[in-house]
Amino acid sequence: MTAELTLARPTSRGSWRPTVRVGLLGGIIAVYLALVGIVPLFDERPLVNGVISLGQTALVLTMAGAGSIAARRATGGRGEVVAAGALAGAITGGFVTLLVILGAAVDLRAFMLNASPRLYDLLTFGLGVAGSWIPLVVGAAIGAAAGGLYVVPARFRTPVGWGLIAVVALGLFAGLLRTPLLTSGLSQVARFLFAPEGLTPIGAIIVFAVATAFNVARGPVAVGRRVSALPGRERRAVFVAGGVVSLLLVFVMPLALGGFFAQVIALVALYVLMGLGLNITLGLAGLLDLGFVAFFAVGAYTVGLLTSTAEFGIAQWPFWAAVPIAVLLAMAFGAFLGLPILGIRGDYLAIATLGFGEIIRILAGSDLLKGVLGGPRGIINIPKPIGVAPDHFLSGATQIYYIALVFAAIVAFVAWRLRASRLGRAWVAIREDEDVAEALGISLVQTKLLAYMLGAAFAGLGGAIFAGLVGSIFSSSIQLFVSINVAALIIVGGMGSIPGVIVGAIFLIGIPELFREFSEYRFLFYGIVLIAMMRYRPEGLLPSRIVRRELHVPETESPAGLPAGEPLGR
């Protein structure tokens, strides 16, 4: 709070304290990036081949970020703005310089594994302590450049900014984009734009130019403005056409982009499904359920037991026959687990449900049920939902992609209908104030139990599809992390909001998957993003909108039954 207030105040002439503060923060981040190993590890991975590595990009972005924040807050003439950027960048770089000098004097490796001579060489372009001045100067230069963007008009700054963002983004995803391009007959384009890792220098220039030009032309804005200027009927036609095109894109995407993308999106859809389930219990009814994975387990194991053709399979049913049973069983479990904990409120409920989740997880892996559920060896040979030849286009991940998407759409529809019903209102009322809700005639037992059961049903469906997706279910798939992930995606997306669940799943499940190559480091950023989100946008990315209903109700001029008592004057 205090920090925000201080930073929001315009810098008085000649006061450099905010700039210094930004620089200090940047310096700490830069040193942190170096010491946790991001700089050395991703030095091997180019962003633009032969020009700049990812590790260097991280440092450059920190310096540029510090410079631009300082410049934006600086007041005074152009010179002062640029100088503020340069100072913040220099302080950021100065921290790195200090790190290099300190590292030469003391061996930091006892505390920091990554504080190796190699790191110092990287930071000084191979000069070691003799080149310790380099980060400082580079920082100042980059900070000044970033600050310089704030003395030119916004119509230059914005396109340049977007151009740079596009280069970084495409450089990051180069590997993912290159493969489908290579296999889809556009291999010339792929080789031209992308190096084996990262962009080619030419590619980077082209990406920058295209993104900049697109922004200069103000593409999306102009189109949006032109569409909203259309008369109602044509506008609707544009929307319908847009909808059809996006549907087609959704349909064609896995075929064009290949199996990996299909798998990622199927995973996202799976989490959307479970997210919509927990959104009922947590988002609407406000019951924080951290044992959500239990219902997922029930759904997955039910499908496994009923369909598996290997050991532990008991019925060898087709997948589609097992799914309804899995959902119903998960619902029954929801009621079974829900009943004893209905009276528990708030934080205590979270702990109690956490207990349930853990019981199920441990049971699944226990010796007790090893003979039934297979324990760590799991249930394998769960048939694919649609049996096709291996070379059919519906084989593998593509099939699961379609199934998960269709189910996610159905579940979103169901969730939307429930939210708009009397039951949905009762859930929200309970979340807001359960005593008052009960005094208005809402049965807490019945309503909460329904929230539990329906949430559990969605989770069970998620588990069933997961079993079909992977083709097997092991006790190790039942992790507390699943519950946490689902809860986090709801909170990040926006509590109680259905579009929020979708955005949250893309953000927390999809994007980390795309960063697979960065292994554990992606969770580092995942954590940072979560903290930043809760600090700056606690209501979530897409908070639920107010339902505007009053004006949609047909006017009844003569109110029946209730004589027009003199309304309180306004």
Binding site: L418, R425, E438, A439, G441, E550, P559, A564
Partner: protein, 272 residues
């Protein structure tokens, strides 16, 4: 038979007796006030009626049937609605939705019906929305239906709370300090509004109120609580002259003083 009757109701919190052996009756269609100094047990008594507290002794009868063992939602189903001293709206719902929640048990859609969007459910919802809109107009909140409850001005929040309570089509309405925090003009409107509720809708009204102008103006009978016990009951005129009431409000010793002042006009005695 009275609509609501309390017989020897006692409510304790640990060693503290909040309500002690209270006998109380209210007839159908009446407006009755409960007054008393702060901490006299008025709100506790309301909470006992509405099922927020379990009473230790005695019984509470609605239409001769005991309700003191029922849950809050069951009591609401029998036609008892209430408002709260500190406004308790559903702040993140719109005014309209607040009223729709109040109609909960008069709607009949099941969750399966809601998912399928059956015709019955749609008609149910349409009726509910028409009714909610009418209630909004009735409490003077026309056009504010899509505003979040928390964004409404204070006076409107009080009105909305009454509207939400009315959505349950109550026979007995418990109003806990409905004019608290209102300016004289708003208080005047609210008083008029409460009287209309009874006159037009036939709702029986039991209210806790501190503003003596309101109490004396609309109550047919007044019950006075002090330290959890009923120390007086009667018409406004009787209450104003009752020495025990004056004592409870002004403290011992002031009785003689007040009684000595001849002719206490309406509202002058206990306007503390």
């Amino acid at each position: 038979m009275p609509l609501l009757a309390a017989r020897a109701v006692t409510k304790r919190f640990g060693g503290l007796v909040a309500v002690h052996a209270l006998d109380f009756e209210i007839d159908e269609g009446a407006i009755v006030s409960v007054i008393g100094p702060n901490g006299a047990g008025k709100t506790t008594f309301f909470n006992c009626i509405a099922g927020f507290y379990e009473i230790e002794e005695g019984e509470i009868l609605l239409d001769g049937e005991p309700i003191h063992r029922l849950r809050r939602d069951q009591i609401a189903h029998l036609g008892v609605s209430r408002t709260y001293q500190n406004i308790r709206l559903f702040n993140n719902m719109t005014a309209m939705e607040n009223i729709l929640v109040g109609q909960h048990h008069h709607l009949h859609s099941t969750w399966i019906g809601a998912i399928l969007g059956t015709r019955g459910v749609r008609e149910d919802e349409d009726r509910a929305h028409v009714e909610a809109r009418r209630l909004l107009r009735f409490v003077g909140l026309q056009g504010r239906g899509d505003t979040l409850a928390s964004k409404l001005p204070y006076g409107d929040q009080r009105r909305l709370e009454v509207g939400r309570a009315l959505a349950n089509k109550p026979r007995l309405l418990l109003l806990d300090e409905p004019t608290a925090g209102m300016n004289p003009a708003e208080t005047e409107q609210m008083t008029e509004f409460i009287r209309n509720l009874r006159d037009d809708l036939g709702v029986t009204i039991l209210l806790i109120e501190h503003a003596m102008r309101v109490v004396m103006g609309i109550s047919e009978r007044i019950a006075v609580l002090d330290y959890g016990e009923k120390i007086a009951e009667g018409t406004p005129e009787e209450i104003q002259l009752n020495p025990r009431v004056i004592e409870a409000y002004l403290g011992r010793g002031s009785v003689a003083e007040v009684v000595a002042q001849s002719d206490p006009g309406p509202g002058s005695a206990a306007s503390v």
